[in-house]
Amino acid sequence: MAEEITVKAAAPEKNARIWPLFLVCWAAALLLVGLVGCFVFYQYLGIYEVTRAETRMDELMEIMTAEDWLDKAAENLDFELSEFEDPDLLFAEYRQSLTTDQPLSYRSEKSESDSEHMLFVVRSGPSNLCRVELKAGDKRLPFGRHDWKLGRVSSGDITKSLSSVTVEVNAMEGQEIRLNDKALDEEYLTGKPLEIEDLSDIESRMDVVPMLMSYRVGPLYGDIHVSADGQELAAEKSGKTLRYRAVTGGTGSLTIRAPEDIRVTVGGAELTKKDVSDSSYALLEGLERYTGDAAFLTNTYSFTGLYTVPEVKAFDADGNELRPIMTGENAYIFFHPSDAAADEEDQKELDHLWDLAESYFDNYVKYTTRPFDSNLYYRLLSATLSGSQLQAYIAQSNAAMKWAANSTVEKQELHYDNLHRIGTDCYTCTVEFELDKTSSTWVEEVSSSEQNAEQMVFVRRGKYWFAAALAMIGD
């Protein structure tokens, strides 16, 4: 019985010892797991430290200078430009502007990084130098870690760091506009031609009113050069816009002389009395008694400040277009048309006048280009209307004639036209010529060329026709 009691009392005691033992084992197990965990964590941190991409970047920053980074970046330019910019040139300009003498630093571009690729931006002071890619290396380490090797070094989009401008150019149609030595074509037209504020009255009346073409290009980076027809233009800066005016004002001019009863149009706009700047008889002055009256009145139309070179046309009463004589750039002279519908008797007279004009002008040229020739002198005088200014001019010219041993005249072009009756006993015609003249002395030989036009007037006295006036057209 006593033995039985002893056994029964020992059971709770044993149970009481098991629980603490369990707790000890439980604690030991927990601590062991914790210890192993800490050990693994310790190991991980050791590997983490040496496999950080930043650790690799720190190593690179130790050995690379700002110039080294920029040299590498220049090999991979990561930005797109317009056709007017040269990436290499822009990068070179950008490179010049960078601060490279300050301590280097870097920042990570986490948004473009992952476990296999890390992207960093290397900086010097406030300047971004380049973008650096680190790629996962071949060395694989526990915990999925790996080493890093240098990947692509590129410029990045440097345009984000550069100030951009928009270029606006106002030009006339037909002007050659070049931006950084490349032609601006229609692609860059804004589609909204601009009105010209100080447009002349005549141009505002033309069928096609001149407008300014407006080009717009941007954003552009770096140096900007704009030229119009080869002339470099100066920029007007307004915020981030550079404005260039290829036309600063109308500079063109136009002079038209035409008989009063001739209809003249400029760019489709018909000229009126309001456009007449001068009315005169010109070289016909003093010949009124032969010519009658207003038929001799010649209107002069002068325009300045033009933006265009408009087309000029003239028409006779029947609507026939007349051919002008050009006496200079944008200087037109119109005459009455030749009498086409002359009857047979008149035709004879006209033929005679053509011959007279040709022979008179031929003698005149010979007389004025050779040593004094009394035969020519008297021949000209006899063919010239007595009492006219022309006769007086020739009469007094003998002393002024040039002496030369030998002179030659070669007619390159000789064109008689516009023979037209302008009075009962009066005709006029024009002669356009291009002459090559050579004068020789024992000292030298002088060559010259003369291209011009003259207007001749013939007056009949009795049965005979005489030259009454001869003058350079446009003088």
Partner: protein, 348 residues
């Protein structure tokens, strides 16, 4: 003789065992945690050691953790050491070129843009405000006497579109109620806190032209710079608020652990960047000061300043908190906030 028998009541055995099991388990977990902390603070990764130590030191409630294995001498190394030249750096206002008056008004453009930030381990919200003059400083009433305001209340008080917390405040042991601002507060050109302090502050402020100023300055220097709205902030270890000045990262201020963060920056075109990064959650532990600076640079900041972080980091938009507030007891009360106002609501 009467004998009195006193019968002792003993704890039920099952309860005693449960408690002992729990105690041993918790004790072991605590020991393991200490082991983990030891590995973090004394382990082979200086990077992790620094990040961990700074993180806990920036958090008022658990700052003591940093002292478990690290001596005072070792902790001294985490304190900010800025040179005299660092402290005189000021914002060069000529680097900010405010966008010109927009020629064509786009009615669909509200003038601001909310951007989701998800970069590496950093997650948060970025509010880009084109016109910096639309951002003002909101303040609670009666600094030092009344508690601060929760951000939603602050935004509502001013009728703002959005807002982020701004300056620091006294927060001993994490029990601060946002009543007492840290350092300087300039409210619409008036010094409302810190005016008696003769030294300088690490200021983050906006001047009358909407230009962001960050840097160390006295009250008078701040006023002379034309600062209209300002707060100041520095971390427990004395890291200043300036992250970027004139495009240059202020390296000496880039210490700091992983925590929720709030910052303000300004691009060259004047646009303000209001940034809040989450932390202390499973999805993200937070961001370092370097992370803040990197994100600010990525979005074009020329100047940027760090603001109060941790549980205070909150962005309110549309009347609601739109980031993950790290405070487990609900949004904290703060004394100051940068607020985005409706166009035309800000005088001057």
């Amino acid at each position: 003789m009467e004998t009195e028998t006193v019968k002792k009541k003993s704890m039920p055995k099952w309860l005693a065992r449960a408690l002992s099991f729990l105690g041993v388990t918790l004790g072991c977990i605590l020991l393991v945690l200490l082991g983990v902390i030891w590995v973090l603070e004394k382990g082979p990764s200086p990077t992790v050691t620094e990040t961990f130590t700074r993180s806990v030191r920036e958090t008022s409630a658990i700052r003591w953790v940093s002292r478990i294995f690290l001596s005072e001498e070792e902790l001294e190394a985490y304190k900010s050491v800025s040179s005299p030249t660092d402290e005189v750096k000021t914002v060069n206002t000529s680097l900010i070129h405010m966008a010109e008056t927009v020629e064509t008004v786009d009615e669909d453009d509200p003038g601001y843009e909310l951007v989701e930030i998800s970069e590496g381990t950093c997650k948060g919200k970025l509010l880009i405000v084109k016109d910096p003059k639309r951002v003002i400083l909101g303040t609670s009433d009666n600094f030092g006497r009344e508690p601060g305001l929760q951000m939603t209340a602050m935004v509502e008080k001013y009728g703002a579109i959005a807002g982020i917390n701004a300056g620091g405040f006294n927060d001993e042991g994490g029990r601060g109620n946002g009543s007492t601002p840290q350092g300087l507060v300039i409210d619409n050109g008036e010094v409302t806190w810190g005016g008696n302090h003769t030294g300088g502050f690490h200021v983050v402020g906006l001047d009358y032209d909407g230009i962001l100023h960050v840097g160390f300055m006295t009250v008078q220097q701040a006023l002379d710079a034309g600062i209209r709205w300002a707060v100041s902030f520095e971390t427990y270890d004395g890291l200043a608020s300036a992250l970027i000045i004139n495009g240059e990262v202020q390296k000496h201020n880039l210490g700091g652990g992983v925590n929720p963060r709030t910052a303000i920056g300004q691009r060259e075109d004047g646009a303000l960047l209001l940034l809040v990064l989450d932390g202390r959650s499973i999805s993200t532990l937070g961001a370092t000061m370097r992370d803040l600076a990197d994100i600010m640079l990525e979005y074009g900041a020329v100047n940027a300043g760090n603001l109060d972080g941790g549980s205070s980091s909150v962005m309110v938009y549309g009347g609601e908190i739109i980031n993950n507030c790290a405070s487990v007891v609900g949004p904290r009360r703060v004394p100051t906030a940068f607020l985005l106002m409706e166009e035309g609501d800000v005088d001057g």
